[in-house]
Symmetry: C2
Protein backbone atom coordinates (compact mmCIF):
# COMPACT_ATOMS: atom_id res chain seq x y z
CA UNK A 1 0.00 0.00 0.00
CA UNK A 2 1.18 3.56 -0.57
CA UNK A 3 2.19 5.78 2.31
CA UNK A 4 2.16 9.54 2.80
CA UNK A 5 4.44 11.12 5.36
CA UNK A 6 3.97 14.86 5.92
CA UNK A 7 6.18 16.78 8.30
CA UNK A 8 9.40 18.71 8.50
CA UNK A 9 12.69 18.29 6.69
CA UNK A 10 15.47 20.05 8.55
CA UNK A 11 19.18 20.57 8.85
CA UNK A 12 20.13 19.44 12.35
CA UNK A 13 23.24 20.33 14.31
CA UNK A 14 23.67 17.97 17.23
CA UNK A 15 25.97 18.29 20.21
CA UNK A 16 26.63 15.45 22.65
CA UNK A 17 29.19 15.32 25.44
CA UNK A 18 31.69 13.80 23.00
CA UNK A 19 30.74 14.86 19.46
CA UNK A 20 29.34 17.70 17.36
CA UNK A 21 27.75 17.13 13.95
CA UNK A 22 26.52 20.02 11.82
CA UNK A 23 23.74 20.32 9.24
CA UNK A 24 22.79 16.67 9.18
CA UNK A 25 19.64 15.64 7.37
CA UNK A 26 16.91 15.85 10.02
CA UNK A 27 13.28 16.74 10.63
CA UNK A 28 10.34 14.56 11.59
CA UNK A 29 9.45 13.58 8.03
CA UNK A 30 12.99 12.63 6.98
CA UNK A 31 13.36 10.03 9.71
CA UNK A 32 9.79 8.82 9.35
CA UNK A 33 9.93 8.49 5.55
CA UNK A 34 13.19 6.57 5.58
CA UNK A 35 11.81 4.27 8.26
CA UNK A 36 8.53 3.73 6.38
CA UNK A 37 10.31 3.04 3.10
CA UNK A 38 12.10 0.08 4.64
CA UNK A 39 8.87 -1.93 4.49
CA UNK A 40 8.85 -1.72 0.70
CA UNK A 41 5.83 0.52 0.23
CA UNK A 42 5.80 3.59 -1.99
CA UNK A 43 6.45 6.49 0.36
CA UNK A 44 5.38 10.01 -0.61
CA UNK A 45 7.18 12.64 1.46
CA UNK A 46 5.41 16.00 1.83
CA UNK A 47 7.55 18.81 3.22
CA UNK A 48 9.23 22.10 2.36
CA UNK A 49 12.94 22.91 2.00
CA UNK A 50 14.95 25.94 0.89
CA UNK A 51 17.14 26.25 -2.16
CA UNK A 52 20.12 25.60 0.14
CA UNK A 53 18.99 22.04 0.79
CA UNK A 54 22.08 19.92 0.10
CA UNK A 55 22.02 17.62 -2.90
CA UNK A 56 23.48 14.66 -0.94
CA UNK A 57 20.51 14.76 1.46
CA UNK A 58 18.15 14.83 -1.52
CA UNK A 59 19.94 11.90 -3.11
CA UNK A 60 19.94 9.89 0.09
CA UNK A 61 16.15 10.15 0.43
CA UNK A 62 15.67 9.16 -3.22
CA UNK A 63 18.12 6.27 -2.90
CA UNK A 64 16.08 4.95 0.02
CA UNK A 65 12.96 4.83 -2.15
CA UNK A 66 11.29 8.01 -0.92
CA UNK A 67 9.24 9.91 -3.53
CA UNK A 68 9.95 13.66 -3.35
CA UNK A 69 7.29 14.92 -5.76
CA UNK A 70 5.51 16.54 -2.79
CA UNK A 71 8.57 18.30 -1.42
CA UNK A 72 8.40 22.03 -2.16
CA UNK A 73 11.74 23.66 -2.85
CA UNK A 74 11.39 27.41 -2.29
CA UNK A 75 13.70 30.41 -2.25
CA UNK A 76 15.28 30.74 1.19
CA UNK A 77 16.96 28.74 3.91
CA UNK A 78 15.88 25.28 5.03
CA UNK A 79 14.52 24.91 8.59
CA UNK A 80 17.44 24.41 11.00
CA UNK A 81 17.59 22.98 14.53
CA UNK A 82 20.53 22.86 16.90
CA UNK A 83 20.36 20.85 20.10
CA UNK A 84 22.55 19.53 22.85
CA UNK A 85 22.21 16.25 24.73
CA UNK A 86 23.25 15.92 28.33
CA UNK A 87 25.45 13.10 29.52
CA UNK A 88 22.72 10.57 30.01
CA UNK A 89 21.19 11.13 26.54
CA UNK A 90 17.74 11.28 28.11
CA UNK A 91 17.54 15.06 28.19
CA UNK A 92 18.27 17.64 25.55
CA UNK A 93 18.05 21.38 25.18
CA UNK A 94 17.38 23.33 22.02
CA UNK A 95 20.25 25.72 21.36
CA UNK A 96 18.87 27.31 18.23
CA UNK A 97 15.92 27.11 15.86
CA UNK A 98 15.67 28.87 12.49
CA UNK A 99 12.22 28.40 11.03
CA UNK A 100 12.92 30.15 7.68
CA UNK A 101 11.03 28.50 4.78
CA UNK A 102 8.96 26.38 7.16
CA UNK A 103 6.81 29.46 7.76
CA UNK A 104 5.72 29.36 4.13
CA UNK A 105 4.77 25.69 4.20
CA UNK A 106 1.53 25.26 2.28
CA UNK A 107 1.28 21.53 1.59
CA UNK A 108 -0.30 20.65 -1.78
CA UNK A 109 -0.56 16.95 -2.46
CA UNK A 110 -0.23 15.23 -5.82
CA UNK A 111 -3.10 12.91 -6.76
CA UNK A 112 -1.01 9.86 -5.87
CA UNK A 113 0.02 11.23 -2.48
CA UNK A 114 -3.53 12.29 -1.62
CA UNK A 115 -4.72 8.74 -2.31
CA UNK A 116 -2.23 7.09 0.11
CA UNK A 117 -3.70 4.33 2.26
CA UNK A 118 -1.65 4.93 5.40
CA UNK A 119 -0.82 8.52 6.34
CA UNK A 120 1.54 9.84 8.98
CA UNK A 121 1.15 13.46 9.99
CA UNK A 122 4.60 13.65 11.53
CA UNK A 123 5.45 16.39 13.98
CA UNK A 124 4.71 19.84 12.48
CA UNK A 125 2.15 22.55 13.19
CA UNK A 126 -1.45 21.38 13.66
CA UNK A 127 -2.41 23.90 10.93
CA UNK A 128 -0.21 22.06 8.45
CA UNK A 129 -1.50 18.72 9.71
CA UNK A 130 -5.13 19.83 9.24
CA UNK A 131 -4.30 21.17 5.78
CA UNK A 132 -2.93 17.78 4.72
CA UNK A 133 -5.87 15.97 6.33
CA UNK A 134 -8.27 18.00 4.22
CA UNK A 135 -6.67 16.84 0.99
CA UNK A 136 -6.75 13.09 1.60
CA UNK A 137 -8.90 11.07 -0.82
CA UNK A 138 -8.01 7.45 -0.05
CA UNK A 139 -9.90 6.86 3.24
CA UNK A 140 -6.55 6.10 4.83
CA UNK A 141 -5.53 4.94 8.30
CA UNK A 142 -4.19 8.18 9.78
CA UNK A 143 -1.46 8.51 12.40
CA UNK A 144 -0.44 11.84 13.90
CA UNK A 145 2.50 12.82 16.10
CA UNK A 146 2.99 16.14 17.92
CA UNK A 147 5.17 17.86 20.51
CA UNK A 148 5.03 20.18 23.52
CA UNK A 149 5.43 23.32 21.38
CA UNK A 150 2.01 22.75 19.75
CA UNK A 151 0.39 21.81 23.05
CA UNK A 152 1.58 25.16 24.37
CA UNK A 153 0.89 27.49 21.44
CA UNK A 154 -1.73 25.76 19.25
CA UNK A 155 -3.76 23.60 21.59
CA UNK A 156 -7.17 24.23 20.02
CA UNK A 157 -5.99 23.34 16.52
CA UNK A 158 -4.13 20.31 17.88
CA UNK A 159 -7.32 19.09 19.57
CA UNK A 160 -9.26 19.69 16.33
CA UNK A 161 -6.70 17.61 14.45
CA UNK A 162 -6.76 14.79 17.04
CA UNK A 163 -10.48 14.24 16.48
CA UNK A 164 -9.77 13.35 12.84
CA UNK A 165 -7.03 10.76 13.23
CA UNK A 166 -7.07 7.03 13.99
CA UNK A 167 -3.90 6.95 16.07
CA UNK A 168 -2.29 9.75 18.05
CA UNK A 169 1.35 9.27 19.05
CA UNK A 170 3.05 11.34 21.71
CA UNK A 171 5.95 10.96 24.11
CA UNK A 172 5.46 10.41 27.84
CA UNK A 173 6.46 13.85 29.09
CA UNK A 174 4.25 15.55 26.51
CA UNK A 175 1.34 13.24 27.31
CA UNK A 176 1.65 14.27 30.97
CA UNK A 177 1.69 17.96 30.08
CA UNK A 178 -1.16 17.65 27.61
CA UNK A 179 -3.68 16.17 30.06
CA UNK A 180 -2.04 17.37 33.29
CA UNK A 181 -1.71 13.86 34.70
CA UNK A 182 1.42 12.07 35.91
CA UNK A 183 0.18 8.52 35.62
CA UNK A 184 0.60 7.33 32.03
CA UNK A 185 -2.23 4.79 32.15
CA UNK A 186 -4.65 7.54 33.11
CA UNK A 187 -3.08 9.97 30.66
CA UNK A 188 -3.41 7.49 27.78
CA UNK A 189 -7.10 6.95 28.45
CA UNK A 190 -7.67 10.70 28.67
CA UNK A 191 -5.93 11.33 25.36
CA UNK A 192 -8.08 8.68 23.72
CA UNK A 193 -11.16 10.40 25.10
CA UNK A 194 -10.10 13.47 23.11
CA UNK A 195 -10.89 11.72 19.83
CA UNK A 196 -8.37 9.28 18.41
CA UNK A 197 -9.41 5.62 18.39
CA UNK A 198 -5.90 4.61 19.42
CA UNK A 199 -3.16 6.35 21.39
CA UNK A 200 0.51 5.43 21.66
CA UNK A 201 2.60 6.90 24.48
CA UNK A 202 6.30 6.64 23.63
CA UNK A 203 8.64 6.09 26.58
CA UNK A 204 11.99 6.19 24.74
CA UNK A 205 14.38 3.58 26.10
CA UNK A 206 11.55 2.23 28.25
CA UNK A 207 9.31 1.28 25.33
CA UNK A 208 5.74 2.29 24.59
CA UNK A 209 2.10 1.94 25.63
CA UNK A 210 -0.76 1.39 23.17
CA UNK A 211 -4.33 2.21 24.17
CA UNK A 212 -7.36 1.10 22.16
CA UNK A 213 -11.12 0.91 22.66
CA UNK A 214 -10.93 -2.74 23.75
CA UNK A 215 -7.29 -3.37 24.37
CA UNK A 216 -4.04 -2.34 25.95
CA UNK A 217 -0.53 -3.30 24.89
CA UNK A 218 2.88 -2.45 26.27
CA UNK A 219 6.42 -3.27 25.28
CA UNK A 220 9.86 -2.46 26.53
CA UNK A 221 12.42 -1.16 24.01
CA UNK A 222 15.26 -3.08 22.37
CA UNK A 223 18.14 -2.62 24.85
CA UNK A 224 21.12 -0.81 23.38
CA UNK A 225 24.69 -1.09 24.59
CA UNK A 226 25.54 2.28 23.06
CA UNK A 227 23.43 5.35 22.25
CA UNK A 228 25.20 7.83 19.97
CA UNK A 229 22.29 10.18 19.25
CA UNK A 230 18.59 9.68 20.05
CA UNK A 231 17.46 12.47 17.69
CA UNK A 232 14.69 11.22 15.43
CA UNK A 233 14.03 8.02 17.38
CA UNK A 234 10.40 9.00 17.95
CA UNK A 235 9.96 9.95 14.28
CA UNK A 236 11.56 6.68 13.23
CA UNK A 237 9.17 4.87 15.54
CA UNK A 238 6.11 6.54 13.97
CA UNK A 239 7.45 6.06 10.44
CA UNK A 240 8.24 2.42 11.17
CA UNK A 241 4.70 1.84 12.44
CA UNK A 242 3.34 3.52 9.29
CA UNK A 243 5.44 1.39 6.96
CA UNK A 244 4.59 -1.79 8.84
CA UNK A 245 0.84 -1.11 8.63
CA UNK A 246 1.09 -0.37 4.90
CA UNK A 247 2.99 -3.59 4.33
CA UNK A 248 0.05 -5.59 5.76
CA UNK A 249 -2.01 -4.49 2.76
CA UNK A 250 -5.22 -4.55 4.83
CA UNK A 251 -8.11 -2.17 5.06
CA UNK A 252 -9.17 -3.32 8.54
CA UNK A 253 -6.27 -2.72 10.86
CA UNK A 254 -6.68 -4.61 14.14
CA UNK A 255 -5.34 -3.96 17.63
CA UNK A 256 -2.97 -6.90 17.16
CA UNK A 257 -1.65 -5.32 13.94
CA UNK A 258 -1.01 -2.12 15.86
CA UNK A 259 0.74 -3.99 18.69
CA UNK A 260 3.13 -5.56 16.20
CA UNK A 261 3.58 -2.18 14.49
CA UNK A 262 4.58 -0.67 17.85
CA UNK A 263 7.25 -3.34 18.35
CA UNK A 264 8.51 -2.96 14.78
CA UNK A 265 8.65 0.83 15.10
CA UNK A 266 10.49 0.51 18.40
CA UNK A 267 13.06 -1.83 16.87
CA UNK A 268 13.69 0.59 13.97
CA UNK A 269 14.08 3.45 16.46
CA UNK A 270 16.83 1.49 18.22
CA UNK A 271 18.88 1.54 15.02
CA UNK A 272 18.46 5.31 14.68
CA UNK A 273 19.94 5.83 18.16
CA UNK A 274 23.12 3.95 17.28
CA UNK A 275 24.52 6.62 14.94
CA UNK A 276 24.18 10.37 14.47
CA UNK A 277 21.21 11.69 12.50
CA UNK A 278 19.80 9.40 9.81
CA UNK A 279 23.13 7.67 9.26
CA UNK A 280 22.03 4.23 10.43
CA UNK A 281 18.62 4.48 8.76
CA UNK A 282 20.48 5.39 5.58
CA UNK A 283 22.13 1.99 5.29
CA UNK A 284 19.70 -0.20 7.23
CA UNK A 285 18.35 -3.23 5.38
CA UNK A 286 14.97 -4.91 5.84
CA UNK A 287 16.89 -8.06 6.73
CA UNK A 288 18.73 -6.35 9.57
CA UNK A 289 15.45 -4.98 10.90
CA UNK A 290 13.84 -8.42 10.71
CA UNK A 291 16.86 -9.93 12.45
CA UNK A 292 16.65 -7.49 15.36
CA UNK A 293 12.89 -7.98 15.59
CA UNK A 294 13.45 -11.74 15.95
CA UNK A 295 16.15 -11.09 18.53
CA UNK A 296 13.79 -8.79 20.45
CA UNK A 297 11.08 -11.44 20.37
CA UNK A 298 13.50 -13.98 21.86
CA UNK A 299 14.54 -11.44 24.54
CA UNK A 300 10.95 -10.87 25.64
CA UNK A 301 9.32 -14.31 25.36
CA UNK A 302 8.37 -15.96 28.62
Amino acid sequence: MSVLIAGTVALDSIHTSTEVHNELLGGSASYAAMAAALSGSTVHLCAIVGTDFPEPHHSLLVSRGVDLANVDVVEGRTFRWTGRYHDDMNHRETLDVSIDVLEKFNPRLTVDAAAAKVVLLANMSPDNQLDVLGQLTGKPFIIADSMDLWINIARARLEEMMKKVDLFVINEDEARIFVDERNLMTAGHRLRAMGPKYVVVKKGEHGALLFGPNGFFTTTAYPLQKVADPTGAGDTFAGGMTGYLASLNKTDITFEDLSRAVVYGSVLASFTCEEFGVKRLGNLTAGEAAGRLAEFRSYTTF
Copy 2:
Protein backbone atom coordinates in the same frame (compact mmCIF):
# COMPACT_ATOMS: atom_id res chain seq x y z
CA MET B 1 10.38 -27.28 47.66
CA SER B 2 11.27 -25.46 50.86
CA VAL B 3 12.49 -21.89 50.82
CA LEU B 4 14.74 -19.91 53.13
CA ILE B 5 14.51 -16.13 53.19
CA ALA B 6 17.10 -14.34 55.32
CA GLY B 7 17.08 -10.59 55.71
CA THR B 8 15.67 -7.79 57.82
CA VAL B 9 12.37 -7.43 59.61
CA ALA B 10 11.65 -3.80 60.38
CA LEU B 11 9.11 -1.31 61.56
CA ASP B 12 8.69 1.19 58.73
CA SER B 13 7.27 4.68 58.91
CA ILE B 14 6.41 5.94 55.46
CA HIS B 15 5.59 9.47 54.35
CA THR B 16 4.15 10.28 50.94
CA SER B 17 2.82 13.60 49.71
CA THR B 18 -0.64 12.61 50.92
CA GLU B 19 -0.27 10.06 53.73
CA VAL B 20 1.83 9.06 56.72
CA HIS B 21 1.85 5.53 58.14
CA ASN B 22 3.85 4.63 61.24
CA GLU B 23 5.49 1.40 62.39
CA LEU B 24 4.20 -0.78 59.60
CA LEU B 25 5.61 -4.27 59.19
CA GLY B 26 8.59 -3.82 56.85
CA GLY B 27 12.10 -5.00 56.07
CA SER B 28 13.46 -6.95 53.11
CA ALA B 29 12.64 -10.38 54.53
CA SER B 30 9.06 -9.56 55.52
CA TYR B 31 8.06 -8.58 51.99
CA ALA B 32 10.09 -11.36 50.42
CA ALA B 33 8.78 -14.10 52.72
CA MET B 34 5.14 -13.11 52.22
CA ALA B 35 5.67 -13.01 48.46
CA ALA B 36 7.44 -16.39 48.43
CA ALA B 37 4.79 -18.02 50.59
CA LEU B 38 2.15 -17.25 47.98
CA SER B 39 3.53 -20.04 45.78
CA GLY B 40 2.62 -22.63 48.41
CA SER B 41 6.14 -23.67 49.47
CA THR B 42 7.27 -23.91 53.08
CA VAL B 43 9.00 -20.57 53.75
CA HIS B 44 11.54 -20.30 56.58
CA LEU B 45 12.15 -16.69 57.56
CA CYS B 46 15.50 -15.93 59.21
CA ALA B 47 15.77 -12.50 60.86
CA ILE B 48 16.04 -10.72 64.19
CA VAL B 49 13.49 -8.56 66.01
CA GLY B 50 13.30 -6.87 69.40
CA THR B 51 10.94 -7.69 72.23
CA ASP B 52 8.86 -4.70 71.09
CA PHE B 53 7.92 -6.44 67.85
CA PRO B 54 4.12 -6.15 67.65
CA GLU B 55 2.09 -9.32 67.97
CA PRO B 56 -0.20 -8.42 65.00
CA HIS B 57 2.85 -8.34 62.69
CA HIS B 58 3.94 -11.72 64.03
CA SER B 59 0.47 -13.14 63.52
CA LEU B 60 0.23 -11.77 60.00
CA LEU B 61 3.43 -13.53 58.94
CA VAL B 62 2.28 -16.80 60.49
CA SER B 63 -1.16 -16.50 58.92
CA ARG B 64 0.51 -16.15 55.52
CA GLY B 65 2.30 -19.47 56.00
CA VAL B 66 5.71 -18.12 56.99
CA ASP B 67 7.67 -20.26 59.48
CA LEU B 68 9.25 -18.09 62.17
CA ALA B 69 11.40 -20.70 63.95
CA ASN B 70 14.50 -18.89 62.64
CA VAL B 71 13.44 -15.44 63.81
CA ASP B 72 15.45 -14.41 66.87
CA VAL B 73 13.55 -12.32 69.40
CA VAL B 74 16.07 -10.46 71.56
CA GLU B 75 15.93 -7.83 74.27
CA GLY B 76 15.81 -4.37 72.69
CA ARG B 77 14.09 -2.42 69.95
CA THR B 78 13.31 -3.75 66.48
CA PHE B 79 15.12 -2.16 63.51
CA ARG B 80 13.21 0.93 62.36
CA TRP B 81 13.25 2.87 59.10
CA THR B 82 11.51 6.13 58.24
CA GLY B 83 11.39 7.38 54.68
CA ARG B 84 9.69 9.98 52.56
CA TYR B 85 8.63 9.66 48.91
CA HIS B 86 8.61 12.63 46.58
CA ASP B 87 5.63 13.44 44.43
CA ASP B 88 6.49 11.14 41.55
CA MET B 89 7.07 8.11 43.85
CA ASN B 90 10.28 7.37 41.97
CA HIS B 91 12.57 8.98 44.52
CA ARG B 92 12.72 8.67 48.26
CA GLU B 93 14.87 9.91 51.10
CA THR B 94 15.65 8.18 54.35
CA LEU B 95 14.54 10.37 57.26
CA ASP B 96 15.68 8.11 60.06
CA VAL B 97 17.23 4.70 60.66
CA SER B 98 17.50 2.97 64.06
CA ILE B 99 19.57 -0.19 63.74
CA ASP B 100 19.06 -1.37 67.34
CA VAL B 101 18.84 -5.19 67.57
CA LEU B 102 19.94 -5.61 63.97
CA GLU B 103 23.50 -5.01 65.12
CA LYS B 104 23.32 -8.20 67.18
CA PHE B 105 22.05 -10.32 64.27
CA ASN B 106 23.84 -13.65 64.37
CA PRO B 107 21.77 -15.93 62.13
CA ARG B 108 21.65 -19.58 63.28
CA LEU B 109 19.59 -21.84 61.06
CA THR B 110 17.46 -24.79 62.14
CA VAL B 111 18.18 -28.07 60.35
CA ASP B 112 15.09 -27.63 58.19
CA ALA B 113 15.94 -24.05 57.20
CA ALA B 114 19.56 -24.94 56.41
CA ALA B 115 18.32 -27.67 54.05
CA ALA B 116 16.10 -25.30 51.98
CA LYS B 117 16.29 -25.83 48.23
CA VAL B 118 15.86 -22.21 47.15
CA VAL B 119 17.47 -19.50 49.27
CA LEU B 120 17.06 -15.75 49.13
CA LEU B 121 19.65 -13.64 50.90
CA ALA B 122 17.46 -10.57 50.97
CA ASN B 123 18.96 -7.15 51.53
CA MET B 124 21.05 -7.09 54.74
CA SER B 125 24.77 -6.82 55.48
CA PRO B 126 27.09 -9.00 53.37
CA ASP B 127 28.51 -10.34 56.66
CA ASN B 128 25.09 -11.69 57.61
CA GLN B 129 24.58 -13.00 54.06
CA LEU B 130 27.92 -14.86 54.17
CA ASP B 131 27.09 -16.23 57.59
CA VAL B 132 23.82 -17.73 56.30
CA LEU B 133 25.57 -19.03 53.16
CA GLY B 134 28.04 -20.94 55.31
CA GLN B 135 25.24 -22.84 57.07
CA LEU B 136 23.38 -24.12 53.99
CA THR B 137 23.30 -27.90 53.57
CA GLY B 138 20.81 -28.46 50.76
CA LYS B 139 22.86 -27.45 47.66
CA PRO B 140 20.21 -24.81 47.00
CA PHE B 141 19.71 -22.32 44.19
CA ILE B 142 20.85 -19.10 45.87
CA ILE B 143 19.58 -15.60 45.13
CA ALA B 144 21.05 -12.49 46.77
CA ASP B 145 19.88 -8.88 46.81
CA SER B 146 21.82 -5.86 48.08
CA MET B 147 21.76 -2.06 48.20
CA ASP B 148 23.99 1.00 47.81
CA LEU B 149 24.86 1.11 51.53
CA TRP B 150 26.77 -2.19 51.28
CA ILE B 151 28.44 -1.18 48.00
CA ASN B 152 29.71 1.88 49.82
CA ILE B 153 30.75 0.48 53.20
CA ALA B 154 31.26 -3.29 52.71
CA ARG B 155 32.27 -3.73 49.10
CA ALA B 156 34.89 -6.44 49.64
CA ARG B 157 32.51 -8.63 51.63
CA LEU B 158 29.75 -7.99 49.11
CA GLU B 159 32.03 -9.12 46.29
CA GLU B 160 33.01 -12.20 48.29
CA MET B 161 29.32 -13.03 48.76
CA MET B 162 28.50 -12.49 45.07
CA LYS B 163 30.97 -15.20 44.04
CA LYS B 164 28.94 -17.75 45.99
CA VAL B 165 25.45 -17.11 44.65
CA ASP B 166 23.61 -18.23 41.52
CA LEU B 167 21.63 -15.05 40.96
CA PHE B 168 22.45 -11.53 42.07
CA VAL B 169 19.59 -9.01 42.07
CA ILE B 170 20.15 -5.26 42.24
CA ASN B 171 18.29 -2.13 41.19
CA GLU B 172 19.36 -0.03 38.22
CA ASP B 173 20.86 2.94 40.10
CA GLU B 174 22.82 0.65 42.38
CA ALA B 175 24.05 -1.44 39.44
CA ARG B 176 25.37 1.75 37.84
CA ILE B 177 27.15 2.81 41.03
CA PHE B 178 28.55 -0.66 41.67
CA VAL B 179 30.38 -1.00 38.33
CA ASP B 180 30.64 2.72 37.51
CA GLU B 181 28.79 2.34 34.20
CA ARG B 182 25.67 4.14 33.00
CA ASN B 183 24.59 1.67 30.34
CA LEU B 184 22.61 -1.13 31.97
CA MET B 185 23.47 -3.74 29.34
CA THR B 186 27.16 -3.21 29.99
CA ALA B 187 26.61 -2.97 33.75
CA GLY B 188 24.72 -6.28 33.78
CA HIS B 189 27.50 -8.10 31.96
CA ARG B 190 30.09 -6.60 34.31
CA LEU B 191 28.17 -7.69 37.39
CA ARG B 192 27.96 -11.21 36.01
CA ALA B 193 31.70 -11.19 35.46
CA MET B 194 32.04 -10.63 39.25
CA GLY B 195 30.80 -14.16 39.94
CA PRO B 196 27.07 -14.85 39.85
CA LYS B 197 25.87 -17.05 36.99
CA TYR B 198 22.81 -14.82 36.57
CA VAL B 199 22.16 -11.14 37.24
CA VAL B 200 18.83 -9.32 37.42
CA VAL B 201 18.76 -5.53 37.16
CA LYS B 202 15.48 -4.19 38.56
CA LYS B 203 14.12 -1.06 36.86
CA GLY B 204 11.08 -0.45 39.05
CA GLU B 205 8.10 0.69 36.97
CA HIS B 206 10.16 0.02 33.82
CA GLY B 207 10.60 -3.70 34.49
CA ALA B 208 13.76 -5.74 34.69
CA LEU B 209 16.70 -7.19 32.78
CA LEU B 210 18.00 -10.76 33.24
CA PHE B 211 21.53 -11.66 32.17
CA GLY B 212 22.77 -15.26 31.89
CA PRO B 213 25.75 -17.08 30.42
CA ASN B 214 23.87 -17.80 27.19
CA GLY B 215 20.82 -15.64 27.31
CA PHE B 216 19.26 -12.26 27.90
CA PHE B 217 15.67 -11.49 28.87
CA THR B 218 13.84 -8.24 29.48
CA THR B 219 10.34 -7.34 30.53
CA THR B 220 8.41 -4.19 31.22
CA ALA B 221 6.43 -3.97 34.48
CA TYR B 222 2.70 -4.38 34.96
CA PRO B 223 1.36 -0.84 34.45
CA LEU B 224 -0.37 0.58 37.50
CA GLN B 225 -2.99 3.30 37.47
CA LYS B 226 -2.20 4.18 41.09
CA VAL B 227 0.93 3.78 43.21
CA ALA B 228 0.30 4.26 46.93
CA ASP B 229 3.70 3.17 48.28
CA PRO B 230 6.53 1.46 46.39
CA THR B 231 8.34 0.40 49.60
CA GLY B 232 9.23 -3.28 49.44
CA ALA B 233 8.50 -3.70 45.73
CA GLY B 234 12.05 -4.88 45.06
CA ASP B 235 11.93 -7.28 48.02
CA THR B 236 8.56 -8.58 46.85
CA PHE B 237 10.06 -9.08 43.39
CA ALA B 238 12.97 -11.14 44.76
CA GLY B 239 10.70 -13.11 47.10
CA GLY B 240 8.25 -13.74 44.28
CA MET B 241 11.06 -15.08 42.08
CA THR B 242 12.20 -17.32 44.95
CA GLY B 243 8.74 -18.74 45.55
CA TYR B 244 8.16 -19.28 41.84
CA LEU B 245 11.41 -21.22 41.44
CA ALA B 246 10.63 -23.37 44.48
CA SER B 247 7.18 -24.15 43.10
CA LEU B 248 8.78 -25.64 39.97
CA ASN B 249 10.20 -28.42 42.14
CA LYS B 250 13.25 -28.78 39.88
CA THR B 251 16.93 -29.18 40.63
CA ASP B 252 18.06 -27.82 37.26
CA ILE B 253 16.71 -24.31 36.92
CA THR B 254 16.88 -23.05 33.32
CA PHE B 255 17.12 -19.56 31.87
CA GLU B 256 13.50 -19.89 30.74
CA ASP B 257 12.47 -20.72 34.32
CA LEU B 258 14.26 -17.60 35.50
CA SER B 259 12.61 -15.47 32.79
CA ARG B 260 9.19 -16.56 33.97
CA ALA B 261 10.25 -16.04 37.59
CA VAL B 262 11.21 -12.44 36.72
CA VAL B 263 7.77 -11.78 35.24
CA TYR B 264 6.02 -13.44 38.19
CA GLY B 265 8.11 -11.45 40.68
CA SER B 266 7.38 -8.26 38.80
CA VAL B 267 3.64 -8.94 38.86
CA LEU B 268 3.71 -9.56 42.63
CA ALA B 269 5.66 -6.33 43.12
CA SER B 270 2.90 -4.43 41.32
CA PHE B 271 0.43 -5.52 44.03
CA THR B 272 2.77 -4.33 46.79
CA CYS B 273 2.83 -0.83 45.29
CA GLU B 274 -0.94 -0.51 45.40
CA GLU B 275 -1.19 -0.22 49.19
CA PHE B 276 1.03 0.93 52.04
CA GLY B 277 3.57 -1.53 53.45
CA VAL B 278 2.67 -5.22 53.23
CA LYS B 279 -1.06 -4.51 53.29
CA ARG B 280 -1.78 -5.82 49.79
CA LEU B 281 0.58 -8.79 50.15
CA GLY B 282 -1.23 -9.59 53.37
CA ASN B 283 -4.49 -10.40 51.61
CA LEU B 284 -3.28 -11.33 48.13
CA THR B 285 -4.41 -14.73 46.84
CA ALA B 286 -2.55 -17.02 44.45
CA GLY B 287 -5.56 -16.72 42.15
CA GLU B 288 -5.32 -12.93 42.01
CA ALA B 289 -1.60 -13.21 41.20
CA ALA B 290 -2.31 -15.76 38.46
CA GLY B 291 -5.03 -13.51 37.07
CA ARG B 292 -2.74 -10.52 36.84
CA LEU B 293 0.01 -12.65 35.31
CA ALA B 294 -2.41 -13.75 32.59
CA GLU B 295 -3.48 -10.14 32.08
CA PHE B 296 0.17 -9.08 31.80
CA ARG B 297 0.80 -11.81 29.26
CA SER B 298 -2.09 -10.53 27.15
CA TYR B 299 -0.79 -6.96 27.45
CA THR B 300 2.66 -7.92 26.15
CA THR B 301 1.95 -10.54 23.48
CA PHE B 302 2.67 -9.50 19.91
